[in-house]
């Protein structure tokens, strides 16, 4: 039987990618972020997940606006490293879990009536890869876990509501548990926290909102799922609306799951949050 053994909410700030590739993690500007992941990585080694389901958004890299899916699930043995306009990072391809993907697709579409776009070919980019870098150090040839991409449209409105994202997480949790294989799964909800990347409000951050979001995510996720896109964008910046993907992670773990780690660091233009829950 499948089992959710953990949930993580974390930012996927793209500048982290080159910092990892060039081994700059101990520089003073970056060390506080990477230090926060030391106990998280130790915990992940202890719970030994087989698969990471990564809830992320593509940033107009492998999906184009000519056809942009609201929810899209990877159903492949392997996912290529994408080129999002800055070159392809030197990373091993991501190993998928085809049996679990097919099960999730069937369970989510038939049982839970989430009509997903299903992708047999998918190249992943920073929204997916930065969280993988932070949680699962890779070696030359492979990542230590298999992974499944779950892509959410958070960049072209109308976006799915926060509540819909939360319900998708609840369905995802149930779907993992009905998987016949003995598979341990962690769910990563990625993106945010406060940031805005255009207009005179470029660089806007709001730590107070971000800390409130972390509080509510732990304490009352169903209540938090009633938040509107308008409120997130007004209080935390237009691009902060990515935070709705953290609710998918939160829905996948138990409502009274114990919170383990929490960290916040806002050096440049984005509140980089981190929160983890037991499965």
């Amino acid at each position: 039987m499948g089992r959710i053994v953990g949930g993580l909410g974390l930012s996927h700030v793209p500048s982290i990618g080159p910092v990892v590739d060039r081994n700059r993690m101990q520089e003073p500007g970056w060390k506080p972020l990477f230090d926060a992941y030391v106990p998280v990585r130790e915990w992940l080694v202890t719970i030994r997940p087989d698969v990471a389901i990564v809830v992320y958004n593509d940033h107009a890299a492998d999906f184009s606006f000519d056809k942009y899916p609201t929810f899209a699930l990877g159903v492949a043995e392997q996912y290529a490293i994408g080129d999002e306009g800055f070159g392809t990072r030197p990373l091993p391809a991501v190993r998928g879990d085809i049996d679990l993907s097919i099960h999730l697709a069937e369970a989510l579409v038939y049982e839970h009536e989430f009509d997903l776009t299903l992708c047999q070919e998918l190249a992943v980019e920073h929204g997916f890869l930065v969280p993988m870098n932070l949680c699962f150090p890779h070696d030359k040839d492979r990542w230590p876990v298999r992974a499944i991409p779950l892509q959410v449209n958070v960049i072209q409105h109308p976006l799915p509501t926060a509540r819909r994202c939360y319900r998708l997480g609840q369905a995802l949790g149930a779907a993992v548990q009905s998987f016949p294989g003995d598979t341990k799964v962690v769910v990563l909800g990625t993106g945010g926290m406060s940031h805005q990347l255009q207009g005179k409000r470029f660089g806007y951050m709001n730590e107070k909102f971000d800390q409130w979001f972390l509080d509510e995510l732990e304490r009352d996720p169903a209540g938090l799922a009633e938040i509107t896109h308008q409120k997130i964008m007004e209080e935390a910046g237009a691009e902060a609306v990515e935070l709705i993907m953290w609710l998918t992670m939160r829905g996948a773990v138990s409502p009274n799951a114990r919170r383990l780690h929490r960290h916040y660091y806002a050096p440049m233009t984005t509140g980089m949050g981190l929160i983890t829950f037991e499965g």
């Binding site: 972020l33 107009a60 306009g85």
Partner: protein
């Protein structure tokens, strides 16, 4: 849940389907810049590249001027704009400084920890 976007937010662009329709040519051109060969084509002859994607004269002018806020207003998605930035040697923070009406140094001075770039 009713409407999710209920009003304008000052100094903020919200990329909805109206903007996406306006920017379709620009966003298609940017999507092509996800290929190294196409980035080379752009760098070799940006005028021919823009014409190939059917950009209007006003859209081409915005790219020539590196007018990043103008491109956002013309319907370029921010993540598509980053690909033009990459092809023209303008990183996110440089583009952001211009959109704020500041120099790069002035913008960096507003940050909490400027070493995290």
């Amino acid at each position: 849940m009713g409407r999710q976007v209920t009003g304008a937010i000052p100094d903020t662009s919200i990329f909805d389907l109206r903007l996406a329709r306006r920017g379709q040519r620009l966003n298609r051109m940017c999507a092509a810049l996800c290929s190294p060969q196409e980035r080379d084509s752009f760098k070799r002859d940006d005028e021919a590249f823009m014409s190939r994607f059917g950009l209007a004269a006003a859209e081409k002018a915005l790219i020539r001027k590196r007018d990043f806020q103008g491109l956002i207003d013309a319907g370029t998605n921010i993540y598509a704009l980053l690909k033009i930035g990459s092809a023209t040697g303008n990183g996110l923070y440089k583009m952001g400084a211009q959109m704020r009406g500041e120099s790069y140094e002035e913008f960096l001075a507003t940050r909490n920890i400027r070493g995290a770039v």
